[in-house]
């Protein structure tokens, strides 16, 4: 953690500017890195952190500026040149060939001469490196069968065996469990002790403060400041990151009605035979937000899919007040009963890029026959209601209603999805990771909408891997672990207890 790092800069990025089309991603950025230091690059989504590091790793060519390595200006023209200079990057989305073994994946990036003899040599190099940093990994299994944490180890090995002295890690703990994260940081500290410089690109304040030697905050493509973790409070850091302190306060429900949605003993086996969901039982009342807390990968996605009607449970029932047993109903029928869905992957399940903004809004209404008959869809009504909804829900970036929905940014796309789903005054809202990828402002807006729905009497199920979000919004919290609801808490709840239930 805190150790004496060399004072002289090892690598310096000076006056880096980069724009994409009309969008200025990096604005005169200066960044430096010392030997053996762990340097956190902190900021919200879209602040420019990944872009800056992609320049260093040779994936982007800057419009202007220069990179200086150990006193000499260098010209990084591509990823191979960056690698030759000792820069290795582990991306947020792993660049692995799923059907290849870990060894073959490493062979893809690390030069090794002729294949058959070369890979044999490579194997011994990899094994040596693994011992050095205390990794365990099956080198011969197809990487697609490894866990996410193990895949990350392959990526790290790729970079280390390739001879990197500077490692850039882009949002490394986004997909790791708490336990895996701890293991990860132990590795990082070992590397830094051995002299490797590490850049930690993250939006997680906690981690930056706990594990780094220096923190550089970026916002809107610019460097805001570089600070030492011991010298600054969390609130001050948040102010640097977002520009103002946004604190959301929990607002519990005023009145909760009768039981609306009830899940009884739902069981689902996954394709591998493991039980993805085991005896899931809980219920949500009208006017209540029920939050499912848990580490990602414990059945949340399956639960969401099941409730949406996209998969059927092996056993168990779902009951909806006023409609009885809805377990065997298809998605369309569930929607007609008043269920709406805000899926986690909105690009995949909730938006059609080639359709216009107005069409994406009106589609569920059109399916409910609210926009004219089968003969003719009432386009004028579509435009009118869509325009009103876009104002109501503060969807920005819409120059005119006919433009493709693909243009909307993350936060505005999500607002459009919510506008659409709420256009039918839902009685049940299933929201899965609703503020994933959104900045603080957009998240606050989404939370507000969920509360609004609850206050009109809907039963809201919030599935989220962000414990802060769950604790902020929920009236009742259920903790999911390995496919089971292992604990239930009423708000205000004890964060420690929840955390414990999540990881045991």
């Amino acid at each position: 953690m805190q150790h004496i790092a060399e004072q002289k800069s090892y690598i310096k990025m000076e006056k880096i500017t980069k724009s994409f089309g009309g969008f200025l991603a990096l604005d005169n950025v200066n960044f430096d890195l010392r030997r053996g230091e762990i340097h956190a690059l902190l900021g919200e989504n879209g602040a420019g952190k990944s872009s800056l590091m992609n320049v260093l790793a040779g994936h982007y060519a800057p419009d202007s500026g220069q990179v200086i390595l150990a006193g000499n200006a260098v010209d990084i023209t591509g990823p191979s040149e960056a690698r030759a200079l000792g820069v290795g990057m582990v991306h947020q989305h792993y660049k692995l060939v799923k059907t290849f073994s870990a060894l073959d994946n490493i062979a893809l990036t690390v030069p090794h001469g002729a294949y058959l003899p070369g890979v044999r040599n490579l194997r011994s190099k990899v094994v040596t490196k693994m011992k050095e940093i205390g990794f365990e990994l099956d080198l011969d299994r197809p990487v697609g069968q490894l866990s996410v944490a193990e895949q990350q180890r392959v990526e790290i090995l790729k970079v280390l065996v390739g001879g990197a002295s500077i490692i850039i890690l882009d949002e490394p703990t986004a997909v790791l469990t708490d336990e895996e994260s701890t293991g990860f940081f132990q590795t990082i500290e070992k590397l830094s002790d051995a002299g490797t410089s590490v850049v930690l690109v993250t939006h997680k304040l906690r981690e930056a403060v706990r594990y780094s030697d220096r923190i550089t905050v970026m916002r809107g493509g610019r460097i805001v400041d570089t600070v030492l973790p011991g010298d600054i409070t969390d609130d001050q850091l948040i102010k640097l990151i977002v520009g103002e302190v946004i604190t959301e306060m929990p607002e519990l429900s005023e009145s909760m009605g009768d039981e609306k949605l009830s899940l009884q003993k739902l069981n689902l086996a996954s394709v591998t035979g493991v039980m993805a969901l085991k005896d899931i039982t809980f219920n949500i009342r009208a006017g209540e937000i029920y939050g499912i807390a848990g580490v990602g990968g414990n059945g949340q996605a399956e639960l969401a899919m099941l409730l949406m009607g996209l998969i059927e449970p092996d056993s168990g029932t779902i009951n909806l007040a006023g409609h009885g047993d809805i377990t065997r109903l298809c998605t369309g029928q569930r929607r007609r009963c008043g269920l709406v869905f805000i899926p986690a992957d909105r690009q995949r399940y909730a938006l059609a890029g080639e359709l216009s903004v107005a069409e994406n809004y009106a589609v569920s209404g059109i399916l409910r026959h609210e926009y004219g008959g089968w003969l003719k869809v009432n386009r004028r009504l579509v435009r009118r209601l869509a325009a009103a909804a876009i104002e109501d829900f503060d969807v920005q970036g819409v120059r005119h209603l006919n433009q493709n929905a693909a243009i909307l940014s993350g936060g505005n796309a999500q607002k459009l999805v919510i506008a659409r789903e709420f256009s039918s005054l839902p009685s049940v809202v299933i929201a899965h990771s609703p503020s994933r990828g959104l900045d603080l402002r957009a998240s606050a807006a989404v939370h507000e909408q969920l509360r609004r729905a609850r206050d009109t009497g809907a039963a809201v199920l919030l599935i989220s891997e962000d414990l802060d979000e769950v604790m902020l919004l929920s009236d009742t919290i259920g903790v999911i672990n390995r496919g089971e609801i292992v604990a239930e808490f009423s708000s205000p709840a004890d964060r420690q207890k929840i955390g414990k239930a999540m990881v045991h």
């Binding site: 872009s51 994936h59 990823p79 660049k95 692995l96 059907t99 893809l108």
Partner: protein, 310 residues
């Protein structure tokens, strides 16, 4: 018994064009490029091989090489369309077929190559070995290309699975992003795979005219290009399964004339339908057996673009 011997000894030469064609398809599609233009490449190869023999003399082996080369040329066009211009691979494949049909019809008519029989390539004679009863004609009475095909399969297997080039090829078909991040040139790799694949498809076409029919007419490939596409799916993009599939089809195609020869009375056109019906059945069976599109290279059919924006 004689029926059996006749049938078995004919199988390799019916199987060879399928085997060569599927090899070409596998090379192309393992790199992630969906190739629906197979029929076009086969046609071009068939015509070029015949054309060389009719126009320039009796050089059957050279004719086969020329078949491959001309198809490879068309492959360059296909590569430009899909790897460089990133045209929808389905449309591009259909364009190639249509183009090839028009071109071969046009050129062969212009050059007077239609309906002109030639001697082509005959079977090899291994002397004593070929005279062994039963086994002789089957194992030692084939033309050169059949034996070469087996050799080519071995070599291809080595290259695809035991060399760096093969590693890159397979990687590009599963995850072009990984290859790009590793510094490899996705476009170039795919281009190469397309052209090599087209070459083998062309040789398969050339085999149909030079060795099997020894004549050229419009559409002599008879839809075999499409059967080859179905065979790739059956083979799950693996070489040894491809060989099995090719032999299977060779069996069926070799059976048809044998049945007629021994006087089995079947409605003529229903017999001709047989390969296509069987292909359909094979596709359904292999799908049911493997539960979906298992084995396809993950990036098959998707044009690759390294995006500079997140």
């Amino acid at each position: 018994m004689e029926f059996l011997v006749f049938w078995l000894s004919n199988i390799p030469s019916f199987a060879a064009p399928f085997a060569l064609g599927v090899l070409g398809m596998i090379i192309c599609e393992r790199s992630g490029v969906l190739n629906l233009g197979a029929e076009g490449f086969v046609l071009v190869g068939a015509m070029s091989g015949a054309g060389l023999l009719i126009g320039y003399g009796d050089f059957p082996l050279l004719a086969l090489v020329v078949s491959g080369a001309c198809a490879a040329l068309l492959g360059v066009l296909f590569g430009l369309l899909v790897a460089t211009l990133r045209v929808n691979q389905v449309i591009a494949g259909l364009i190639i077929v249509f183009l090839a049909q028009g071109l071969t019809s046009l050129i062969s008519r212009n050059m007077g190559w239609v309906n002109k029989p030639f001697s082509g390539l005959g079977k090899l004679d291994f002397g004593l070995l070929s005279d062994i009863p039963t086994i002789g004609p089957i194992l030692f009475g084939q033309d050169l290309v059949v034996y070469l095909t087996v050799l080519i399969y071995f070599i291809s297997f080595q290259i695809i699975n035991k060399t760096n080039l093969g590693l890159m090829l397979r990687a590009v078909g599963e995850s072009p992003e990984a290859v790009d991040a590793a510094g490899g040139n996705v476009t170039l790799l795919r281009f190469g795979a397309i052209v090599v694949g087209a070459f083998f498809l062309g040789v398969a076409g050339g085999y149909l005219t030079v060795v099997v029919s020894k004549i050229w007419v419009d559409g002599i490939s008879g839809g075999r290009g499409w059967i080859i596409i179905a065979l790739v799916i059956f083979a799950r993009w693996r070489l040894w399964r491809a060989m099995v599939g090719a032999v299977l089809f060779g069996c069926i195609e070799a059976l048809i004339p044998r049945l007629a020869a021994i006087g089995v009375q079947l409605p003529q056109y229903f017999v001709l339908m047989l390969p296509y019906v069987v292909t359909l059945l094979v596709m359904v069976w292999s799908n049911v057996q493997s539960g979906g599109r298992e084995g396809a290279p993950s990036a098959l059919g998707r044009p690759y673009l390294r995006e500079e924006r997140h």
